[in-house]
Symmetry: C2
Subunit: 411 residues, 2 copies
């Protein structure tokens, strides 16, 4: 007997027929003698529909109202799944964020969970009831509880709800059911010979999530790592083993490289003719940080004349306009000659715990790309990943080339 | 300066353009120096969509889950209207039933409001904030408040929410904005010369609502009468005066008859050859009452042979199958010869406070119908209304004839 949290994404509950199939899966786990709690996303398309309604009224909307509106999606799907479970003879009830409560901070639209009181849920699970929890939502509780407002956790937040719930329930496992059947060595839509990983470490998954793999929300992985929640990613549609996300020492076989990711959500900014003096980086990046713009890769060219240099960095695609506006306003303070924005870039990353103990991993990457005449524009590395920025048209070629170069191809 | 509750129905908030127009109307009232609270229904079609989802999963569903699901409609519309008001520079926030809280009993699906704590709302209104309250919903609070469940008040329940809120806020007026511009002497789709009433008494409105006029939920009128809430029915779309629902002594001009209504939601059952013995009515109607079937008009024929009689009564159309099932099962106990159901009937009613002090009102009705060869099947009367059951094909003819006979035609 185990205590399990199962999370189902929007495509898994996209209509009544799918909700019925999810209910069958939950019922099977419960009938096998396990204590089960379910976390559910909104029916596919519903969150977008609600976000669009908000944006149509007001592009810069009050995020507290936005949260109350978009949280309605999970309110509907959790109720429907509870009904479907009852139809199968399973004792079940829906739980909204404010009912449990799942308390959050006041950062509406991208709130963070601060605490979960799982006492009542745990008692009911022991008594054989299946709680069906609305994902993505919590209660931002400034004042007395009944005046609290609904807060949402940001897109993909139901993953985080599920992991937080698993931690609060001290669950043995948190199963994330989605429309892919696990974590792959690369996006299978690009690399036909990509392999599904049996297991991956938290650290690798964290890098993969933040470097472009869309299978899990980054924050949910952070939280699973922190609370040592055993995560599993698997398919709602196929009955095949998924990918386990585990501690490093639980992973028997450790490849040098576990996966190749790409992210098109990048834009490059180059400042040409920047005065080469101490403190210039702070002059440039301070105002960007103040504007809430997250600068990722940075490279400062070697100054040829000793007086000026070029500075290149990347920002999220959606922040490019604000970044160029901020820097144009500062052109005299910084004293650069020219600003060159470039949206035609992609970040390709190679990720693997094994990198720490293997030399030549980066070298193999640079060589493989060079052999295919792919020019590297910026490089950034960490202990377990190497990322390069290249022109966007090389996305597929670069990912496939590296997948082969590191011996990841399925035979 | 007045304190006003404005209620907008589903067609008034059916899309973003309409929500904007509603916001303009609320803003105008607030800018005129009034304290305004708004109660809002779900966007037109949304409640039906959610009800259909529930029914698709399970026709006999857990009403607690049903309530949580369908209440999402008002959660969305209240948030959107709050955003639209903010866009116009009005300080506004949405309020869900559990946030206020609006407490109800545990009769999920058709709950009754037990209490409303309007302290916080009143304070904020005094400070210039407009609360936008999700209608139709409350919190059924069995145990500790955070484990309470969402409860809904039944179809049309937002009218009741608005009146209850007006009572709790001690509002000077409760304006019900809808897709008609007031209460008419008869359905204008049938009687072209129907007149809009400037004012009508609570008692008359209550009879009209329960006898077929769809403009207000019956329970909301009861509640307005009990708490002496000044109600007004008016159009969201046209800027014309509506109909005031008032105390009898506030109504200056009192017609004998205020309106003619019809209800097609009737079915007639005749039991032929019922033994004419004491207690027979209890034998028939007891089991129907136990099955929750509401019997309306009843007529027992004079027994010709002193041994058997015929018994005729009406039930709601939707209960006819259950009523005939129950009576068929009891055929031996009751001992009737034959059961004749008839769905081809309509109830036509004439309503007016003036009836109490005028003789000949019923006589005029019977005469007018007879002159048009409309046969009366059953009659029932109260102090301020006369209802007759006639064959359904006479609906329009009967309503028009009576409208003229009582001098209600618009000149």
């Amino acid at each position: 007997m185990a205590r399990i949290v199962q999370k189902f994404g929007g495509t898994s509950v996209r209509d009544i027929a799918h909700i019925r199939r999810v209910a069958e899966r939950v019922a099977a786990e419960a009938r096998a003698g396990n204590e089960v709690a379910v976390v559910v996303s909104a029916m596919a398309g519903e969150t977008n529909r609600l976000v669009d309604l908000c944006t149509e009224i007001s592009p810069l909307h009050d995020t507290r109202e936005y949260d109350s509106i978009v949280a309605a999606g999970e309110q509907v799907s959790s109720g429907l799944l509870a009904l479907a479970l009852q139809q199968l003879g399973v004792t079940a009830r829906s739980w909204l964020g404010w009912q449990i409560p799942v308390l959050t901070d006041e950062m509406h639209g991208k709130a963070r969970i601060t605490s979960i009181d799982a006492t009542e849920l745990r008692q009911r699970m022991t008594a054989g009831e299946v709680p069906v929890i609305a994902g993505f939502q919590g209660l931002a509780c400034g004042g007395p509880s009944r005046h609290g407002r609904i807060a949402t956790l940001g897109r993909g937040g139901s993953d985080t709800s599920a992991v937080a719930m698993a931690a609060a329930l001290q669950a043995d496992r948190c199963d994330i059911y989605t429309d892919v059947d696990g974590v792959y060595t690369a996006d299978p839509r690009i690399v036909r010979r990509a392999r599904k990983l049996q297991a991956i470490t938290y650290e690798e998954m964290l890098e993969m999530a933040s470097l472009g793999a869309k299978v899990l929300q980054t924050r949910s992985v952070e939280m699973a790592m922190k609370h040592r929640v055993r995560l599993q990613v698997l398919s709602s549609f196929a009955d095949v083993p998924g990918t386990l996300i585990v501690d490093e020492d639980e992973k028997v076989e450790q490849e040098v490289v576990s996966g190749i990711t790409y992210s098109r959500d990048e834009a490059k900014v180059t400042l040409i003719g920047v005065p080469d003096r101490p403190g210039i980086a702070a002059t440039i990046f301070g105002p960007l940080a103040d504007a809430g713009i997250n600068v990722d890769m940075i490279v400062q060219n070697v100054s040829e004349d000793g007086r000026t240099t070029d500075m290149t960095f990347t920002v999220p695609h959606s922040d490019l306009a604000r970044a160029t506006d901020a820097l144009t306003a500062l052109s005299e303070t910084i004293g650069y000659a020219r600003l060159v924005p470039d949206e035609n870039v992609v970040k390709i990353s190679v990720i693997g715990m094994g990198m720490r103990s293997h030399a030549g991993v980066a070298q193999r990457m640079f060589k493989a790309l060079a052999e295919n005449a792919i020019n590297i524009q910026v490089i950034s590395t960490s202990e377990i990943k190497i990322s390069v920025l290249v022109a966007e048209q090389y996305t597929e070629l670069a990912v496939r080339t590296l997948h082969s170069a590191y011996g990841l191809d399925h035979l």
